[in-house]
Every structure is written in structure tokens, then in C-alpha cells.
Symmetry: C2
Subunit: 232 residues, 2 copies
């Protein structure tokens, strides 16, 4: 847990990745961090901009997406608190190659780039943690490349729903996915048009695999959804 204990906004940041830091190192990061809030729909960072630090999403949910060929967005990641966003460009030294938009009111904590790299160079354990973290992300990305290209619409949508379930969990009823997405976002996550996302969600609902009420989606028949996802 990073010791941002003096910062009321970041007090709850639990980043096991920082477990390996000394008190002094944590202090340096703490001294050089800042907080910001974003309202639902606001841009946290944008494709082409230069990263100024490591952004940790302390509260709220965000979508990370790239603009595609015909202006069609592809969501490449759904972020939930607490996790890092925008770290790829920061580490590679590029400008952002994707954008982040708040899906609900968000609180972020930005650790200054210079300080982070100072700590990174002094503490190889942190660096190894980050390598491990990024290796997992790369695995997810490669996997998505295959499923998004090879699975059919139903398979892709089923996978997305499972993915949302895993990422955001459920409400108290244990079946309602705890995220509030437009059909367009669902489509952009699943590589399909909005029409087809609506259509296929309806199909799943009429098959009693899920139930829809507005943007709230309940998973009624998990096994079947998993099967649809696997079969592609």
C-alpha cells in the first residue's frame, strides 16, 4: 500500500505493486503527486497528448479506447479503481496512443514522471513488479486481438459481458453487472456496430441468457454465456 496516508483523496489507494518501496521512496512519490477529479463523460487523457505522470484511478470507472479507421472507436481496456491508466505511453516515452474517458465521476492520482523514474531506477523490485504487470497486459491484448478478429458477433458480445462481469463484478443481487454502459460502448468494446450490439443483447435476453432493463444487465445463465463465448 502506497503511503499516501496524508492525502485524504488517495488514502485508500492500495497498490500492491508499491509494496516493495521503502518509506523514503513512498515519501518521494507522495510529495510529488497530485489529485484531480473528472465528471462522467470527461476526457482524462487524449490520444496524442504527452503523459505527465503515472495516473492511478483511485475512484470511478473509465474506458480506454483508440480511434479506428472510420472514426469508429475500439475500447481496448475497461479500467476500474484502483488501477493504473495511461502507463504504456509513459513508459515507452511516446505520446498517448489511446484516450481515457470517465464512465462515472472519477478521482485520479497522478505521480510525477521524474519522481517515479527516480524511484524506479533505485528500486529494481518495483521495476520487476511493473514488468510482470505489463507482461500480463500484453497477454490480454494479444488474446483480444485473436478473439475480436476470429469470434462471431455472439461470441464477441458474450466474451465482453463476461469480461465486464469479471472487471466490475456485480451488485448485491450477484447477477447484475456493476457498470452502466451505453449500447455504443458495449459495441465499441465488442468490435461491432451499435445496431448489432442492441440486436444481439436482445437475442440473449429472449434466450433468457441475460435480462436487460435499460443499461442494467443481469447474467441469468452464466454457463450458457461462457459456452457462447467459447464457441465463438
Amino acid at each position: 500500500m502506497i503511503s499516501f496516508i496524508n492525502c485524504e483523496n488517495c488514502a485508500d489507494i492500495k497498490m500492491t505493486i508499491f509494496d516493495v518501496l521503502s518509506a523514503k521512496e513512498k515519501e518521494l512519490l507522495y510529495k510529488n503527486h497530485s489529485c484531480a477529479t473528472y465528471r462522467k463523460g470527461e476526457i482524462i487523457y487524449k490520444e496524442g497528448e504527452k503523459p505527465i505522470g503515472l495516473i492511478s484511478l483511485s475512484e470511478g470507472k473509465a474506458k480506454i479506447f483508440k480511434e479506428g479507421v472510420g472514426g469508429r472507436d475500439q475500447i481496448i481496456r475497461m479500467a476500474s479503481s484502483v488501477s493504473f491508466i495511461g502507463y504504456r505511453a509513459l513508459f515507452s516515452g511516446d505520446n498517448y496512443t489511446s484516450s481515457a474517458v470517465a464512465l462515472e465521476d472519477c478521482m485520479v492520482c497522478i505521480i510525477d514522471k521524474e519522481s517515479l523514474f527516480t524511484v524506479l531506477e533505485s528500486n529494481s523490485k518495483l521495476a520487476v513488479n511493473i514488468i510482470r504487470f505489463m507482461a500480463r497486459e500484453l497477454g490480454i491484448s494479444n488474446s483480444r486481438t485473436v478473439t475480436l478478429t476470429q469470434k462471431h458477433i455472439r461470441g464477441r458480445l458474450a466474451e465482453s459481458l463476461l469480461f465486464l462481469l469479471e472487471t466490475y463484478g456485480t451488485e448485491e443481487d450477484n447477477i447484475t453487472i456493476k457498470v452502466y454502459l451505453s449500447r455504443e460502448d458495449v459495441a465499441n468494446l465488442s468490435n461491432m456496430t451499435t445496431s448489432n450490439a442492441i440486436r444481439t443483447l436482445s437475442a440473449f435476453a429472449s434466450e433468457n441468457v441475460i435480462s436487460i432493463s435499460g443499461r442494467k444487465i443481469k447474467i441469468l445463465y452464466l454457463k450458457k454465456l461462457q459456452k457462447i463465448s467459447e464457441l465463438g
Copy 2:
């Protein structure tokens, strides 16, 4: 340059990523490395296997691919000497999530996992280099996810040809792509069926954008190919 100067096989390994190592550290890696050769078509590693070390492709070319839903492969990376392969699983602690096959006779150099991690924990500069390297790979992977899903066949094939050109360069004539791939490999790289790869290559040839003689592909009109790739 990693000081594998005593190893006749690895003498030519120039990995700037290891520049930051001390003589002692290089020595440790050297002592704990081994070499292997693979003939064209042989499997270097396979999806599901456990990584035993960091593999550096010292000579030859290889394709890295994942098996998709209907047994259809998706090539996620084309590797050329000198570069690392199979590092993702090594760093994440997983088993391999992709396979590597030699496209021509290959020589690899395997640095023992334990030794690598020892050096990695003692030298944060190496770790930072690896973080930077992986961040770039993640960017490429995300980018490919979007282009492979959103571009049309012609755009995807054009992009693949440009990608091969960039990765492997040309023969002495400056226009023949320096790699010898089956149409099936081209298809698996571009997310299309073999038929469509053949068809679209023929189309490009009849438009004088490329010329084909067997598996040798010449880029006749680079600008046009780039345009086809951009338009999608």
C-alpha cells in the same frame, strides 16, 4: 552488447538492452546461457509450455502465433534476428500463450531464468529498459487489435506487406521483401483466409502495386500501398 564473446554462436548478439550491465553481470548471464538450433518449420516453443529462460533469436526468422477459435492461427508477431521471443510468458510467470516456429533455419540463445531475474533485481537500469521495450510491444499489439478488426481485406494485406518490409527489409534490389512466406502465413498475419490472401495479392499485382514471383514479393509502388493501408 552482451559479452557472449566466448560463445561462437552468440558472438554476434548485439542487444543494446544489455548495455547497462556490468562485466560481472554479463558474465553471470553468459555462464548460464545455452544455444540451440532449429530447422525451418520446427517449433521453438509451444502454447502451454513453461518458459525456461529468455530466448534471443540470434539468427534466422520466426513467426509467433496463437491458435484461434476454429484452429485458425493468428500470427501476432514476426521475429527477426536479433530480438527476444517468448519473454512475455517468462515475465508474467505464465506458460506460453503463443507458439514460435522457425521460418528458416534458426539459432537461439537461451538465458537461464533464475540468472536473468537475479541480474534484473540487481540492476534496475536493465529492468527499466525491459519496461520500455514491453511498453512499445503493448502499443503495437493494441494498434494491431484495431487495424485487424477495422480495416478491410485490402487495407489489412497492405499493412501486413508494409509491416514485413519494415521488419525484414529488402534484398539488394531494394524492393523485394526479404522473407519467404507461404500464402497461408500471409493470411494468418493479415487475419484472412488463404484464398483471400492469394486473391488480394493477385489484385495488387494486377494493379502494379506489387509483383509476385512465387513467394518473392516486390514492392513496386510503395506510396500506393501505404495509401491502401491507411484508407483501410
